[in-house]
């Protein structure tokens, strides 16, 4: 029984970690290459989730929703960079924090006005609603498996892109030393805009996929944003590989802690107290992990080379 539960939670943790990775992958490059503190990345998750849900509800077709939402999030990211973000690269961090905080407020209200304050519910198609047995007698939802698979495909694609292609080499160079990269004649402006829009798309994709699992509501991106910032810091700013490893660690720690800590606490506490304390302390453990990493390795586990 416990082994089955544990396995299930490991898979849930993987799914959460992969989702975090999709959000963190773009953000780590934005932070690393552009040295830009972008707090509104969570809004991209929300935009993706809303775009997919709205189209899904309108057309009654989940795949169409995803298909429509990908270009929408890409376009949103592109437009946002062009309109506002590019004017802020040279500002100091506090200006960036303030401006992107303003963006969060703005996006949340736009969504609230357009779709109302209540959560939006969209179902995934019946073909994805089933279970498969990952081990004998251990059924697991197909949809979550699909999220893990899509995330892994994205991770491999991002990895190959960054480590094998010419543009990827520019991205890596940018992460190590943006000035030198620009001095070598690389059009850093276009590179920035492309990375920004691609990052927004991956964050949006994360939102689209978790939309049917969680509630799609205004402000849904903020908790994810904070967690993905933790992921980025632990992994080392600007490192996609670090973000992947840290995301899986955080996903597992958070998910398994949420289930195991209340069980552990129940052995020496009353039930309700353990049920409140457990999840909260599990959330806390993520930040403790981050603080410990930073105290011992002030630039994260895998800082990009040359940074």
């Amino acid at each position: 029984m416990t082994a089955t539960l544990l396995l299930e939670q490991v898979f849930n943790g993987l799914q959460a970690g992969i989702t975090l990775f999709l959000i963190a992958a773009g953000l780590t490059l934005i932070l690393g290459i552009m040295d830009f503190v972008f707090l509104a990345h969570g809004s991209q998750v929300m935009i993706g989730a809303y775009a997919a849900s709205a189209v899904t509800i309108a057309t009654n077709n989940f795949y169409l929703g995803i298909l429509a939402a990908i270009p929408i999030t890409f376009f949103c990211g592109y437009l946002l960079e062009w309109l506002i973000i590019r004017h802020l690269y040279r500002r100091d961090h506090m200006d960036q924090v303030l401006a992107t905080f303003g963006l969060i407020l703005f996006f949340n209200e736009v969504i609230r006005i357009t779709f109302g304050p209540a959560a939006l519910f969209s179902n995934f198609p019946p073909s994805l609603a089933g279970f498969i047995e990952i081990l004998p007698d251990t059924p697991y939802p197909v949809f979550r498996i699909l999220i893990i698979l899509v995330g892994l495909v994205c991770a491999v694609a991002i990895h190959l892109f960054v480590s094998r292609t010419r543009v990827g080499a520019m991205v890596r160079a940018g992460a190590s030393n943006p000035e030198m990269t620009a001095a070598l004649g690389i059009n850093i402006k276009i590179l920035f805009r492309f990375i920004f829009a691609a990052g927004a798309t991956f964050a949006g994709l994360a939102g689209m996929m978790i939309g049917p699992l969680t509630s799609v509501e205004p402000g849904m991106g903020e908790p994810l944003l904070i967690l993905s910032l933790v992921v980025i810091i632990i992994g080392g700013i600007g490192s996609v590989r670090g973000a992947f490893i840290a995301a899986i660690i955080i996903g597992l720690v958070d998910t398994i802690g949420r289930v195991m800590l209340p069980m552990l606490f129940r052995t020496f506490m009353s039930g309700p107290t353990a049920d409140t304390a457990g999840p909260a302390l599990a959330s806390m453990s993520v930040y403790i992990l981050m603080a410990v990493v930073l105290v011992f390795k002030p630039t994260g586990l895998f800082p990009p080379k040359g940074a």
């Binding site: 903020e222 409140t276 806390m284």
Partner: protein, 328 residues
């Protein structure tokens, strides 16, 4: 010296003077509600002034100072939960707790810099937030309802007394800050902001000054939080939510981060906008009156993009001669 401070920090004194007289105004026009708003302005302004020691003068972007407000508030709440109503003791406990926590967090966090510093301060704040969420005994997520603390000789149920308690604390904090910024410590802190290496080359240990600044700012936020609990008659983890740390930063930048009075100006504008924007929108676009943040968000971006130096900077530069601008 007092005269010197009077001359140097005119804006701050004018604001404090107006705040002292404000209850007369509300009594004359029978607007007791506004006393409440102004108390909130003073409390958040005080916390922001505290944060500004590290943020504006020390150049350390701490994204977790609401946690110290929360600690201050919980010091009051938990003391009262165990039957200790004396507000002065509660203030003392808040100061000591925030001082010690500020020292520990500052010591650990200041090992990092730049974006890492922003994030590690956020991490500590989140840790404390979830810690209080987990404390079922003190209400957990739902918070702890409490009475106004009992400040001996001062019965806080007389509404104006709470107002003037907060006001006098604000005056005290203002004077401390004015003296601090002009002291040797304040000058070195600002020097660290502009060039840490040079300060080190002069034989000073920047870390020592940064940690000291961090502790002082934590204590001021704690005092504000302790009084905030009495004002709100309620404590919950919400007071230390990360968006409040963001609010404090907004307040500072809005007002002008290189001025002692900046955060207070920022708090006035921020909270008045919060009160008035919905009403204003109600007149112009009734359908989105509740969504006042749709105006407020872009307003913030505009302040960052166009209003360098905050409101104090914008207004100040208009009225001072170009030559005098430099030594602001």
């Amino acid at each position: 010296m007092i005269l010197d401070l009077l001359k140097k920090f005119t804006t701050l004194w004018v604001i404090l003077f107006l705040l002292a007289l404000f209850p007369i105004f509300t009594a004359a026009f029978d607007l007791p509600f506004w006393n409440d708003v102004v108390m909130r302005i003073m409390l958040l302004g005080m916390a922001a002034m505290g944060l500004n020691i590290v943020f504006g003068f020390g150049g350390m972007v701490s994204f977790g100072h609401a946690a110290f407000m929360g600690i201050g508030a919980y010091c009051a709440g938990i003391s009262q939960y165990y039957g200790m109503d004396n507000g002065w003791y509660q203030l003392l406990i808040s100061v000591i707790t925030c001082g010690i926590l500020g020292l520990v967090i500052g010591f650990l966090a200041l090992r990092t810099s730049g974006i890492y510093f922003i994030m590690i301060t956020l991490a500590f704040a989140q840790m404390l937030y979830f810690f209080f969420v987990s404390l079922e005994q003190f209400g957990g997520d739902d918070g702890l309802i409490m009475d106004r603390s009992d400040f001996i000789f001062i019965d806080l149920y007389e509404p104006l007394r709470l107002y003037y308690l907060i006001f006098l604390t604000l005056v005290f904090v203002s004077i401390v800050l004015m003296l601090l910024i002009r002291s040797r410590f304040g000058v070195i802190l600002q020097a660290i902001k502009s060039n840490e290496n040079r300060v080190e080359a002069m034989g000073l240990n920047p870390l020592k000054f940064k940690i000291t600044g961090y502790v002082i700012s934590a204590v001021i936020c704690g005092v504000s939080g302790c009084l905030f609990a009495s004002w709100q008659e309620f404590v919950s983890p919400d007071i230390m939510h990360w968006t409040r740390s963001g609010d404090l930063m907004i307040i500072i930048i809005l007002g002008g981060l290189t001025y002692v009075a900046g955060p207070l100006v920022g708090a006035i504008v921020f909270l008045l906008l919060e009160e008035l924007l919905p009403d204003l929108l109600h007149v112009v676009f009734p359908s989105i009156a509740e969504n006042w943040m749709i105006i407020f968000g872009p307003l913030l971006i505009a302040v960052v993009l166009f209003g360098k130096g905050g409101l104090m900077g914008v207004v100040g530069n208009r009225f001072t001669r170009p030559a005098a601008r430099k030594d602001q």
